[in-house]
């Protein structure tokens, strides 16, 4: 047994309202730079829908992840190492910018510079790649809330796998949201396909990162990741990905997406797993056994045997205790309500999901039944097989029994807790029907319904008793790093040369540059683009508001008339 710790996340889909707060805050923190305009480390998809990038789940087309070869051995879907090296000069299957979307901004300047005219001036969209005017035809979220259905939803690769008659009903009845980040897989195919070995998994917490100094821009990882969560920074020529907000997690704070999630539906914690069993589990022949296989490599943190092995492996006491309190472990292995996203990709993903029950309850209530009566719910889950098939394609490689089991647990929990809330005696038979005890149900309800911050996020500190100088406990000077000061610019070979600038520093400079830029849509330098999405409301970017016309003096006369000259309203029309 070789024990390793792995940081993971569980999202409770019932609570996601599709507000995209997580995506926006993540973008502000990490991908608010040119070169990654099109990149969303966190995105929220409406299902059914094509996803982002379009139809990324169709692995016949995109060839991401692993497969079991004819010899029974695990192999990247793109083929052998030699084959991939021979194809390195032009990757056969790599999503192009159009599969994501062409990023754009607006010609805001025309709004303020346009001469007096009959019609209101319009800010036209301009491509951020070419600076030319463009038509907006797609985006990261074009089919949000089933926009464009049914034409667009037809191409949903998951929907394609379930039968035609079910499909139609599905489109009339349901939708739900699927927030996605990098899965920080236990068996990451992105890392396995990187020719330079620049993508690595951290021994301490399993976070998967790209070493920006070792990445050589071979862009094989983009194809390798089946979730398409590796993005190519087209400006620096390097791959970038979700970092699990490691600078925050190291000091015990949850990721930005979790911290800001409106539904408070994200849970973060660690699990212990047996690294010796990963390959065997990932090579399980039948896709449908992969869920069980992945659960089987997770170790019980209360088992004395495991604790001893963990200590031998150098995992510290507080980490083991965190693993014991881990909400992730509880949801995955104690309550068994969380499921992995697409286990059939065989990367052993570590962001799991509690499938949504609400469509069933809503549909039931619409038909005039009591949506929270346990008999009704169980019946409905069985008969309304529609979302179950779809959910099964997402979370269990098509095994509907597993999904039904989870949905029953969630339904039973509602019924059981309703009795308690209404002061009725607990109905233990509800608990036995799903193979749990009343105590389990109450614990699960607490974790899903009322858990506070410190129960939802059990994040052990990284072991570096550093005190000051850590990213978020900011007491040091932001210029104190290797090549600083003088950062924010590029090295001697123009764009993209020189040491990599810490993202926080780059963002700071970009914001400062934007706020003082005098052009809007197409400034000469790409790091001065003004994008209203990125404007934090502080300060007024030059040109955002019309400057005071020179001739206003004439209007008021030199000594002022009407409003006094000193009045701030006249001197500075900006907020």
């Amino acid at each position: 047994m070789r024990v390793m710790a792995q940081m993971g996340m569980v999202m409770n889909l019932d609570k996601c309202i599709g507000c995209h707060t997580c995506s926006v805050t993540c973008k502000q923190a990490w991908t608010n730079r040119s070169g990654v305009e099109y990149v969303w480390f966190n995105n929220v998809e409406t299902r059914p829908g094509q996803g982002y990038p379009r139809t990324y789940e169709d692995q016949e087309k995109w060839r991401g992840g692993w497969q079991v070869g004819r010899n029974g051995r695990l192999q990247l879907r793109t083929g052998s190492r030699l084959k991939r090296l021979l194809q390195i000069f032009s990757s056969p299957v790599q999503p192009s910018i159009n599969d994501y979307y062409e990023p754009w901004t607006y010609d805001y300047e025309t709004l303020t510079n346009a001469p007096v005219q009959e019609h209101t001036p319009v800010a036209r969209p301009r491509s951020l790649l070419t600076n030319k005017p463009m038509n907006i035809e797609w985006s990261a979220n074009w089919d949000d809330n089933l926009g464009g259905a049914p034409e667009l939803t037809q191409d949903d690769p998951v929907l394609k796998k379930i039968s035609a008659e079910i499909k139609d009903k599905f489109e009339q009845t349901y939708m739900f949201y699927l927030p996605r980040i990098c899965e920080h897989c236990i068996n990451p195919s992105c890392a396995a396909s990187c020719p330079s070995g620049a993508i690595y998994k951290r021994e301490e917490d399993g976070i998967v990162l790209v070493d920006q100094d070792r990445c050589r821009g071979w862009r094989q990882c983009v194809t390798g990741c089946p979730y398409k969560k590796i993005y190519f920074n087209h400006r620096t020529g390097k791959a970038e990905k979700c970092t699990f907000c490691f600078p925050r997690v190291e000091v015990g704070i949850p990721t930005v997406c979790s911290e800001t999630c409106v539904g408070r539906l994200r849970y973060i914690g660690i699990v212990l797993y047996d690294a010796d069993k990963v390959l065997e589990a990932a090579s399980t022949p039948d896709d449908r056994d992969l869920y069980a296989a992945q659960r089987s490599i997770l170790l019980d943190p209360h088992d004395p045997e495991v604790i001893r092995a963990a200590e031998q492996a150098g995992i510290s006491r507080d980490w083991i205790e965190s693993a014991q309190r881990s909400p992730i472990y509880a949801l995955i292995n104690r309550f068994e309500v969380a499921l992995p996203l697409h286990p059939e990709y065989r990367t052993m993903p570590m962001v799991w999901y509690i499938p949504p029950l609400s469509p069933v309850v809503d549909a039931l209530t619409d038909t005039g039944h009591d949506g929270e009566d346990v008999g009704n719910i169980f019946g409905a889950i069985e008969s309304l097989r529609i979302p179950v098939e779809y959910l099964a394609e997402l979370f269990t490689a098509g095994d509907t029994n597993l999904v039904t089991g989870v949905l029953k647990k969630l339904g039973a929990m509602r019924s059981y807790m309703r009795d308690l809330n209404l002061g009725r005696p607990a109905d233990e038979s509800i608990a036995t029907a799903i193979g749990m005890t009343g105590r389990d149900i109450e614990d699960m309800h607490r974790l899903l319904g009322v858990a506070k911050y410190d129960e939802r996020y059990v994040i052990p500190l990284a072991h570096a008793e550093q005190g000051p100088g850590q990213e978020e406990f900011d007491s040091g000077c932001s210029l104190d790093y290797d090549e600083g000061p003088g950062m924010g610019g590029w090295g001697p070979f123009g764009e993209t040369s020189g040491g990599s600038t810490p993202i926080a520093v780059e963002n700071f400079h970009m914001l400062a540059a934007r706020q003082t830029a005098d052009t809007m849509a197409a400034p000469g330098s790409k790091d001065q683009r003004v994008n209203l999405l990125n404007w934090d409301g502080k300060g007024a970017p030059e040109g955002l508001f019309p400057s005071r016309p020179e001739d206003s003096e004439a209007l008021h006369g030199p000594d002022g008339g009407g409003v006094g000259d000193d009045s701030p309203a006249v001197r500075d029309p900006r907020p």
């Binding site: 600076n131 990284a462 040369s497």
Partner: protein, 246 residues
Amino acid sequence: MNALDILLWVVVPYVSLAIFVVGHYWRYKYDKFGWTTRSSQLYESRLLRWGSPLFHFGILFVLLGHVAGLGIPKSWTNAVGLSEEGYHAMAVVTGAIAGFCTLVGLAILIYRRRTVGPVFSATTRNDKFMYVVLTATILFGLSNTVLGALGQEGVDYRDTVSPWFRSIFYLQPRPELMAEAGVGFRLHALSALLLFAIWPFTRLVHVFSAPLGYLTRPYIVYRSRDAQLGTRPVPRGWERVGGGRR
């Protein structure tokens, strides 16, 4: 032999090679972040699909050809019984095919650079200059091969260019040999020397990170977290326990 010859065939080569070597060392040390292919496949792949493999496989063969033609003395091939005509036929045929592939690939790449909007916007001045020098070198080289095949060529380059090239590395340069070589060869050599001098400062550095290690390394790379947390160096007196001695 005059001063110009010494300048062109002794001074320039050494300066160029020195820049090549020291430049790579320096760039690797100070600009690992800039060391990348800067792939443009995200913008466009239909043309790249043809251009890039044609160009790359072509140029790698051309490279092999140069190693053989410049590195292996005539006496060696004679010794193994390869006749003059036989050697030339082989060199000219493979050289012409590889060179032609390279040229077509290069043409497609340059056409793509110029006509595909996003690729053009992402082309830096550095790229343009590199492309000019690279294209010139390839054109001069290929024209030598073609002229050679047509029998237009005066002196056998294996009696002039190759010994001169090797003499540079023996540190006993023989500029007089180059003075005898044809104009085509001299131009080709000069543009190549210029290419070597700018090489470390362009995207061509990616050649030196050709990922051969990939064939043997384990699939998944594990790495311990950096001793340093966050992006800042540890302030003095706050080193990790046990970390200061590493």
